[in-house]
């Protein structure tokens, strides 16, 4: 009996309902984790701050107030509400620089994840699918990248490419790619043995279609969790490179770069050192909390109490 049009409509509606239900179930498990929800709220705040930096920040990040050099935060003696978190050694408002720095940090995270995730997925799926010499060679190259500690590798790459935020992002993305490649390849190898893949192949599905529609969706859950945690690592690594002077260059208000400039003032002006680092810590913490919550909600094994 062929499907009547009303039946087809209900079929697609049923799949939409199924997706909504899956989403609702996911949200139910995710929201049980108070920390993950708190992390998510904080991340949303940071995103808003980053997107609306031009309007939210009291001043432009490069504006110098020569009369207000090294002014302490507003609650200390000598501070004022004009500069809530104080000013830095050349009179720039720290709060404004932090807000603009949020934009940079999120930008870094996004670019690094996009780069490493796409290359990781492409390389991983093809490796698991094609096998042979291609796979062996690829995995050995990944082993080489993994054998060198990530920050060292990033430093060497930046030494070649030259200091700067863009090059730092590329360097960090290169060090992250092997993790995604390994993950995707492992999942691909497992999925390929499954019956539905064999069935699709017998039905005549082309390789690319197979990889994209059959294998890829089943890799998504661990990839999402890994991507979230890599996002926070990317922010940390970019800040580390900035701190070492190999990342974003002054006067860019990247949080790590701000810390590099603040080093000599740890005895004189604690606020110049404390706030940028605190911003890094809280952002990374929030993202990691979210990542933990994501992992618990997506992993069926953990669903029982």
């Amino acid at each position: 009996m062929s499907q009547a049009p009303s039946e087809t409509r209900t079929a697609s509606q049923a799949s939409r309902d199924a997706r909504l239900r899956a989403l609702a179930e996911f949200w139910y498990y995710f929201s049980e984790n108070k920390g993950a929800v708190a992390g998510m709220i904080f991340v949303i705040i940071i995103v808003i701050a980053a997107l609306g930096a031009d309007w939210i920040a009291p001043y432009a990040p490069q504006t110098q107030f020569r009369d207000n050099i090294l002014q302490p935060p507003f609650w200390q003696n000598g501070g004022s509400t004009a500069f809530l978190l104080g000013t830095d050694p050349i009179g720039r408002d720290i709060l404004s620089r932090l807000i603009h720095g949020a934009r940079l940090s999120l930008f870094v995270g996004c670019i690094v994840i996009v780069l490493s995730l796409t290359s990781g997925i492409l390389l991983g799926i093809t490796a698991g699918y094609i096998r042979g010499a291609y796979e062996v060679l690829l995995m050995r190259v990944m082993d080489v990248i993994l054998a060198v500690p990530s920050l060292l590798m990033a430093l060497v790459l930046v030494a070649i490419l030259g200091p700067g935020l863009e090059n730092a992002m590329i360097a960090i993305a290169v060090t992250f790619t092997p993790h995604f490649v390994r993950l995707t390849r492992a999942r691909t190898l497992a999925e390929i043995k499954r019956d539905y893949v064999t069935a699709s192949r017998v039905a005549g599905a082309g390789s690319i279609r197979l990889m994209a529609t059959a294998i890829l969706p089943n890799c998504m859950a661990p990839l999402i969790v890994q991507a979230t945690l890599s996002f926070s690592s990317a922010i940390l690594d970019a800040a580390a490179l900035g701190f070492l002077g190999m990342g974003a260059q002054p006067p860019t208000p990247e949080w790590g770069t701000m810390l590099a400039e603040a080093r000599e003032f740890i005895t004189r002006a604690w606020w110049v050192v404390t706030f940028p680092g605190l911003a890094i810590l809280l952002t990374v913490l929030a993202i990691n909390l979210m990542g933990d919550g994501l992992r618990d909600a997506l992993d069926p094994k953990m669903k029982r109490s």
Partner: protein
């Protein structure tokens, strides 16, 4: 067991070769002319350029150059620093003990605190201690340790004056280097207060470097213990009437240790990255600081050689960890 180790060794060789390839290509990828870079000279006459090219072997085919490079490496010749003109290997081994000492203290601290904390958190699952530990460890591995170090310096060296700001030992001590480990050498020298000064200087850098590994080890130990504690053989141990300390500390932990050893091994790479940052903050004269300084000084011979040496050291340590893992895991020890 033998087969297991041989397999790991077999993997090492292509990886090491790959790293030498990266290092070899590194100099040729840098902006600027590699020959001039290696000579450390700016503009030269064409005759001198041709002479330099011949001296560094750039007139030979690429493959031959790589072969020459590789064989020099294997003979221990990593070239000379552009800046100090001393052999790279000499500079590396002069600074390596400093990093090694710091790393050993750090990993010891991380394990001594992280492991028991993770065990207790697993046994007392859901308690205040458990939640508190999870929170602290999450903060620990979210921590930008370069900032954490500065913060601790501000507090303990600045405000409280308890610890020194930089260096490995107070400048008033001077004695011969025997092992390269400041603590041991201080003890051997017999000078009063030298050992305690060395320890004082180690405190903050160790805490900073140990922060991330400690947090990760605590977390992973808890996770491994939770899994093991729900296994059938733990129930069997209880069914034998064994006391809780033996059940947890021997039957459970012994199995969880298999996972934890792997985790500790993974922290080696983290330690090197952390060492780079920690040594920068505390002016600790180790190979981390050496690499950063060399990149800034454009001492590319050092960067190239340092890359290979550090990677080789890391791979060696990983091999030792793999060996330990093989010993601990009975399935590998007795059949693998």
């Amino acid at each position: 067991m033998i087969r297991f180790i041989l397999n790991k060794l077999a993997l090492l060789v292509p990886t090491f070769l790959g790293i030498t390839l990266v290092a070899f290509v590194f100099i040729r990828l840098l902006p600027g002319d590699p020959i001039l870079l290696m000579a450390g000279e700016r503009a030269v006459s064409p005759e001198r350029y041709a002479m330099l090219a011949k001296q560094f072997g750039f007139d030979r085919p690429l493959l031959e150059q790589y072969w020459h490079y590789l064989s020099s490496l294997l003979q221990g010749d990593f070239g000379n620093s552009f800046v100090t003109k001393q052999p790279v290997t000499e500079e590396f081994f002069a600074r390596f003990p400093a990093t090694l000492e710091l790393s050993l203290f750090a990993i010891l601290l991380a394990v001594i605190i992280g492991l028991p904390a993770g065990i207790v958190a697993a046994v007392k699952r859901g308690s205040l201690f458990d939640h508190g530990l999870m929170g602290i460890s999450l903060a620990g591995y979210s921590m930008p340790i370069f900032w954490w170090g500065l913060l601790l310096i501000m507090l303990f060296s600045g405000t409280l004056g308890w610890t020194p700001v930089s260096g490995r030992i107070s400048v008033m001590y001077f004695f011969d280097t025997v092992t390269g480990f400041m603590t041991i050498d201080a003890l051997l020298s017999g000078e009063k207060g030298a050992f305690s000064s060395a320890l004082h200087h180690l405190v903050l850098p160790t805490v900073v470097l140990a922060t991330i590994p400690m947090a990760v080890i605590a977390r992973q130990t808890r996770s491994a213990m939770l899994e093991v504690l729900s296994e059938d053989y733990v129930r069997t141990a209880r069914a034998k009437g064994l006391g809780p300390f033996r059940v947890v500390g021997l039957h459970a932990l012994r199995n969880a240790l298999i996972t934890v050893v792997t985790v500790i091994g993974l922290q080696i790479g983290v330690l090197v990255a952390g060492a780079i940052l920690t040594e920068s903050i505390f002016s600790w004269p180790g190979i981390g600081k050496w690499m950063v300084d060399s990149i800034f000084r454009r001492d590319y011979q050092v960067v190239q050689g340092g890359l290979v040496l550090i990677a080789a050291a890391v791979m060696l340590v990983n091999l030792v960890v793999d060996f330990l893992y093989g010993l601990i895991n009975p399935r590998i020890r007795h059949t693998g």
